[in-house]
């Protein structure tokens, strides 16, 4: 019995680690969709760019320099890529989400194909930085140290993003743009700049999540669509445009993917989308949705 409890406590812990990673991945998608009203299907591709970058830089051997270098480079690429996507979707602002989806999906396909051409067809692994690549004994069983650290990193980023949106002038501007775009423009703020900023920061989080997720997921062809679906599920469960919603959604999905699969192994394929269906029936706008989406 104690063994059963300990095993499931490890699943809970692991759910936190996966949830932390999913939060970093999904919060950008949630902000861009919820606040700027752009459905960015290239979000998964940005994640995979980060993952391949980490694989390329740490390919010669794991070191802190290579890992932090990959994080820095991924952040820059995320900023630039997000800015570019924002400019590309600008002409589609007044058109339907489907047009944006078509454009960003096309970008995602092109990026994925380019990555396959550059990095080859074989799946690549990303080693954790030295010191974090081992295992730590938790509840009497080995647990990867890197994942423990991931929980802390995710928590720090969650607090950072929340402070940025809720407690800074930039955050106030973003929230004001969501509430009344024309009024913000009337007081002399170019709301296209606000959109570019949010888009760039959201994309930065996606590429950074790719590097952080590298030691867990690796880098491979097809990973982009898998993580995009996970991120979309997180956003749907948490509700659009809310940092708190993305955090809760990510933690819920993390637990479903870990504890849910451990408790109901025979239903492993169904628990994720079962939970999604349940949320859609009970709260169609997501757990924390509602205040956004009324921008149009």
């Amino acid at each position: 019995m104690t063994g059963w409890v300990a095993a499931n406590l490890i699943s809970v812990l692991n759910g936190l680690a996966i949830g932390a990673l999913l939060f970093v991945l999904a919060v950008g998608l949630s902000l861009v969709f919820g606040m700027m009203d752009v459905l960015n299907l290239a979000h998964g591709a940005l994640f995979v760019v980060g993952a391949y970058l980490a694989a390329a830089l740490t390919g010669g051997g794991a070191s802190w320099g290579a890992f932090l270098g990959a994080l820095g480079l991924a952040a820059v690429i995320g900023l630039l890529g997000g800015g570019l996507l924002s400019v590309m979707t600008e002409p589609l602002r007044r058109r339907s989400h489907l047009d944006q989806a078509l454009l960003t999906l096309g970008v995602a396909l092109i990026v994925a194909e380019l990555l396959q051409i550059v990095f080859g067809d074989d799946p690549l692994a990303v080693p954790a930085p030295p010191g974090l690549d081992g295992s730590t004994s938790v509840f009497g069983a080995a647990y990867p140290t890197y994942r423990l650290v991931l929980i802390g990193v995710g928590a720090v980023l969650a607090v950072g993003v929340w402070l940025l949106v809720e407690r800074t002038t930039l955050g106030a501007l973003v929230r004001a743009t969501v509430a009344d775009r024309d009024m913000v423009a009337a007081i002399g703020v170019d709301n296209r700049r606000v959109k570019i900023t949010v888009f760039a920061l959201g994309s930065l989080l996606a590429t950074v999540a790719g590097v952080l997720g590298g030691p867990v997921y690796g880098a491979s062809v097809g990973l982009d669509s898998t993580v995009l679906i996970l991120a979309l599920v997180v956003v749907v469960i948490g509700g659009l445009g809310s940092v708190r919603g993305a955090l809760v959604g990510a933690l819920v999905i993390g637990q479903i993917e870990s504890l849910g699969r451990a408790l109901l192994p025979d239903l492993a394929s169904f628990v994720l989308f079962g939970a999604l269906a349940l949320v859609l029936i009970v709260r169609p706008r997501g757990l924390f949705g509602g205040r956004s989406g009324a921008t149009a």
Binding site: G3, W4, A7, N8, I10, S11, N14, I18, E113, Q116, G120, D121, D122, P123, L124, A125, P127, S135, A141, A142, Y143, P144, V216, Y217, G218, S220, V221, G222, L223, T226, V227, I229, L230, E257, S258, L259, G260, R261, A262, P265, D266, A268, S269, L272
Partner: protein, 405 residues
């Protein structure tokens, strides 16, 4: 006047479409070689082969190995199969039947090939079987391992030079039973057709030899990024060993996470050979060392044909061959024998000729014969050895000649 303009435009459009159709149909398949005419009946006329392999998507790396095996055989045999000049039409199978079956249709109809070779995906092979049967052309499957291809859905026009999923897994059953694993073996493979066949094949062979299954798990295929819940289940079960089947990125993640969660040192990991075959082994790194798998080939096989083959392959591509290269190489080898005997290039004549090729004694995998339309071949137990960057599958045991199950 307006009517005249309209009809002229319509006419031009029709002309344009008519002119473009053959061009479009030829797109996507690259034509190699230079001989014309496809159904030349003479015993020494040219033969046109459609090599349908993945050039895009998650299986693209396998496609590369398959093409290399095919090209190497041809370059070593004066670009002739059975005395006939060969034209190879390469088409992209993609990831699934939605792309793979149309690719087979296209090489048959637009390119008028005589024989189709390739196919990684089992669903694609099962979808292509009625297509080639209707066209009465031969299909030589060089990877797809579903039992139905040469079993329940068997047609005389579809032969296989690779393996059957359960055949590979079942070979390890009696071996593990002899090891007398304390606590039994835990069985894990994804919840799709191939995974189910592997679990059933291993379980039947292992239990028949007196083994006890400690538990089973079927992680969702293609969407499982994290195996922690299943690894936890394995630890709980008290199993003394694990037998698994994963391929591609899933193989990399499973083997790495198996080590990260501390199971590698306490519960030995066994699997179908694809777990550690080709590019995935490089990515797995140190986590793979000591993993034991069953398969019909490893580049470390010590026989004269394989030594020559590996040297030539290394020389041509600066890479080591995989089981995918060998299956496609052997497809050329059996076609060579069949075409040498057949009087015509239709599926009936070639199928009859393939039935009479007898033992293939010059294959890099060792001698094998057709049993039904699937190889009866020696299975080897292989252990991953070496250091990260230069890992390889060493031969640990000869598991004996196995037919499809």
């Amino acid at each position: 006047m307006a009517e005249f303009t309209l009809s002229r435009r319509t006419l031009l459009t029709l002309f344009g479409a008519a002119a473009a159709t053959p061009v479009l149909a030829a797109c996507g398949s690259s034509v190699g070689g230079g001989s014309a005419g496809s159904t030349g009946g003479g015993a020494t006329g040219p033969v046109k082969v459609g090599l349908v392999i993945p050039q895009s998507g998650v299986y693209a790396a396998l496609g590369t190995d398959m093409q290399r095996g095919w090209d190497l055989w041809l370059s070593q045999h004066d670009k002739k199969i059975g005395g006939r000049d060969v034209t190879t039409i390469v088409a992209d199978e993609g990831e699934n039947p939605q792309t793979g079956v149309p690719a087979v249709q296209r090489v048959l109809q637009a390119d008028q090939v005589d024989v189709v070779v390739g196919l990684v995906n089992s669903a694609t092979a099962l979808g292509a079987a009625p297509v080639v049967s209707e066209a009465k052309k031969l299909l030589v499957v060089t990877n797809a391992g579903a039992a139905d291809i040469t079993g329940k859905a068997r047609t005389p026009y579809v032969w296989r030079t690779s393996f059957q999923n359960a055949q590979v897994a079942a070979a390890a059953g009696p071996y593990l039973a002899q090891q007398n694993v304390q606590g039994g073996v835990f069985l894990i493979a994804p919840d799709y057709a191939a995974g189910t066949e592997v679990r059933a094949g291993f379980k039947a062979a292992y239990e028949a030899a007196g083994g006890k299954i400690a538990g089973e798990a079927a992680p969702p295929f293609g969407t499982t990024q994290d195996y922690q819940p299943f690894l936890s289940q394995i630890r709980q079960s008290g199993a003394g060993a694990v037998f698994c089947f994963f391929a591609g990125a899933e193989a990399v993640r499973f083997v790495q996470q198996y080590a990260q969660f501390g199971l590698k040192d306490t519960v030995p990991l066994y699997g179908s050979g694809f777990l550690t075959e080709g590019g995935v082994l490089t990515a797995q790194g140190a986590a793979a060392v000591g993993v034991k798998t069953s398969l019909f080939y490893t580049d470390r096989l010590d026989n004269p044909a394989n030594r020559v083959f590996v040297d030539a392959y290394r020389g041509a591509y600066q890479a080591v061959p995989t089981c995918y290269s060998v299956s496609t190489w052997d497809a050329a080898a059996v076609l060579d024998r069949a075409l040498g005997k057949a009087t015509a290039l239709d599926g009936d004549a070639l199928s009859a000729a393939l039935g009479g090729v007898g033992a293939i004694d010059d294959s890099p995998r060792g001698p094998w014969t057709f049993d039904g339309q699937n190889p009866r071949q020696t299975m080897y137990l292989r252990t991953v050895e070496g250091t990260p960057g230069s890992l390889y599958n060493a031969v640990t045991a000869d598991l004996g000649q196995k037919a499809q199950v």
